[in-house]
């Protein structure tokens, strides 16, 4: 295991340095100064916006304690979130394509349709799950009653 770990680490450092050398070779000084700002921004966006937002929404849902179907609600919200995240650049650049064949869709309409579909699917899943849970509770209850009678 130690040997494998050492090999991995050495290869990793070598490849990383090769990438760094490529950056230093091909980018201007000006670009090299600004790149770390963008790299830092990427970390901030993930670790201090997107993930806390996900955790926060999960926490609020738990607080509300909608019951055993909360997982379905959470999954639906996650799907709405991830598709919206990817749609943001498309929505921002709507109609600003380099030529008419780039970004030719009506992204606002398509995004609304997509979110509506996800929410609808989520609601359907919720109804099915509620019904199944109730039936399970019901049959458990009737088994209990039968057991009491005998």
């Amino acid at each position: 295991m130690t040997k494998a770990r050492t090999t991995l680490a050495i290869c990793g450092v070598a490849l990383g340095l090769w990438g760094l050398w490529l950056l230093l070779q091909t980018l201007s000084t000006d670009a090299l100064i600004r790149l770390p700002l963008w790299l830092g921004g990427a970390v901030l966006a993930d670790d201090f916006v997107l993930i806390p937002l996900t955790i926060g929404v999960g926490w609020i849902l738990t607080r509300w304690s909608i019951g055993r179907t909360v997982a379905t609600v959470r999954t639906t919200l996650l799907y709405v979130g991830i598709t919206t995240l990817i749609a943001i650049p498309l929505l921002l650049r709507q109609g600003k394509g380099a030529n008419p064949t780039v970004l030719s869709r009506d992204y606002l309409r398509d995004w609304l349709l997509l979110e509506a579909t996800i929410v609808l699917a989520g609601v359907l899943a919720l109804v099915v799950r509620r019904r199944r849970l109730r039936r399970a509770d019901g049959s458990a209850g009737s088994r209990l009653r039968r057991a009491r009678r005998s």
Partner: protein, 377 residues
């Protein structure tokens, strides 16, 4: 406000087993993305020792489609992975300074490099497919260099975590079900993440798989849109090319130099090729091309079929003005100097009067508005 501690995150889904399972999927996506990206890089600036075959004709279409698809699918996987290990961000390094504390700091730095590079790489990669460049550094060079840094940092990360990964590689005999307060079990979380990956994948892959075009609501490209039903990356206007008049001449320079008018080119034996336009941005679409085989033109000017050719366009821009056709592509019977597309004369935006179309090549090398071919060797 005080920063939370590692213990403040109560969900049992913040667990090494979950991190291992999601990390595995993310690792596969990163490796696929890296290898297909490397292939695309070699296509565009190949060192001499790299030989790229001209077949299978749709190879680049598949690899570049996979490149963009794996990148998009990696977005929910990366977020899920970061979510799983998020409490670790608040773990305090041991104090006073020790060997253990030092190794923890080094490990954190490697993770910082990995997360920063991967998150930025996925972002600029996706935004590039919109042909939007809001950042102050060159896209191609940065995207390529960051890819090596990501793979390097990933190997270091694997080296650090190897004992943890091997421990949690397999599913434990007793899986703790629905322990999360929100009722999300491990299995439920895996399903949710897989679903998110599938969702963004299906909503975007239609730009390379025309059958799914109608639902590609998260893709910048839609198949079938554009002159002659085919999308365009660089229009004639972008390239500074106006129409070619009656004085237009095509020249091929080999052992002999031959010059043709457009009508004379049309009188040469014509061949048909069914070949896709497959762009670095990941979109692709098949099309029917008609024109003269490059190998036939080579024979006319007395050069062998497997000659290296310099293709010269009427474009003014230095980067696109010329391209090189390696011998195996020149010799391939599918490679044409195309004059017609999908049953009609080439549209000006598709390279009228003549363009190169070859199998297994990125769109950026399918040079348009060609007026000169030079046999290099």
């Amino acid at each position: 406000m005080r920063a939370p501690t590692e213990k403040a995150f109560s969900s049992p889904l913040h667990h090494p087993r979950v991190a291992t399972a999601i990390g595995r999927c993310l690792g596969v996506a990163v490796v696929v993305c890296f290898l297909t990206g490397l292939f695309s890089h070699f296509q565009q600036s190949a060192p001499d020792w790299v030989y790229i075959p001209s077949r299978p004709a749709s190879l680049y279409r598949v690899t570049q489609g996979l490149h963009v698809l794996s990148g998009i699918v990696a977005v929910p996987l990366l977020l899920a992975k970061l979510w799983t290990v998020y409490p670790k961000l608040f773990a305090k390094p041991p104090w006073p300074p020790s060997r253990k504390a030092l190794s923890m700091v080094v490990e954190r730095l490697s993770i910082l490099v990995l997360v920063a590079a991967l998150a930025l790489e996925l972002f600029i990669g996706f935004v590039n497919t919109l042909q939007w460049y809001p950042w102050p550094f060159p896209f191609r060079q940065t995207h390529y260099a960051l890819a090596w840094i990501i793979v390097g940092a990933l190997l270091v990360h694997l080296a650090v975590k190897l004992p943890l990964i091997t421990t949690h590689w397999r599913k434990p005999a007793i899986e703790r079900e629905t322990a999360d307060g929100t009722g999300l079990s491990r299995r439920g979380l895996f399903r949710t993440v897989a679903g998110a990956g599938a969702l963004v994948g299906i909503a975007s892959v239609g730009q390379s798989v025309p059958v799914l075009g109608p639902v590609a609501v998260l893709a910048p490209r839609k198949p079938g849109i554009g002159p002659q039903g085919l999308p365009v990356n660089r229009t004639a206007r972008d390239a500074g090319v106006t129409t070619a008049g009656a004085d237009w001449r095509f020249t091929i320079k080999g052992p002999e130099q031959l010059t043709y008018t457009l009508d004379e080119l049309r009188d040469l034996p014509q061949s048909r090729s069914e070949l896709p336009i497959a762009c670095v941005e990941g979109w692709s679409q098949g099309a029917r091309w008609e024109g003269i085989r490059i190998r036939d033109l080579l024979a006319l000017c007395g050069a062998p079929a497997d000659s290296r050719i310099r293709v010269v366009s009427m474009e003014k821009d230095g980067f696109y003005a010329t391209s090189e056709l390696p011998p195996q592509f020149a010799a391939d019977p599918l490679t044409l100097l195309a004059l017609r597309l999908n049953g009609g004369g080439l549209d000006l935006d598709h390279g009228f009067p003549a363009r190169i179309i070859a199998p297994n090549r990125p769109g950026v090398l399918q040079t348009k508005w060609v007026h000169r071919l030079e046999v290099v060797s």
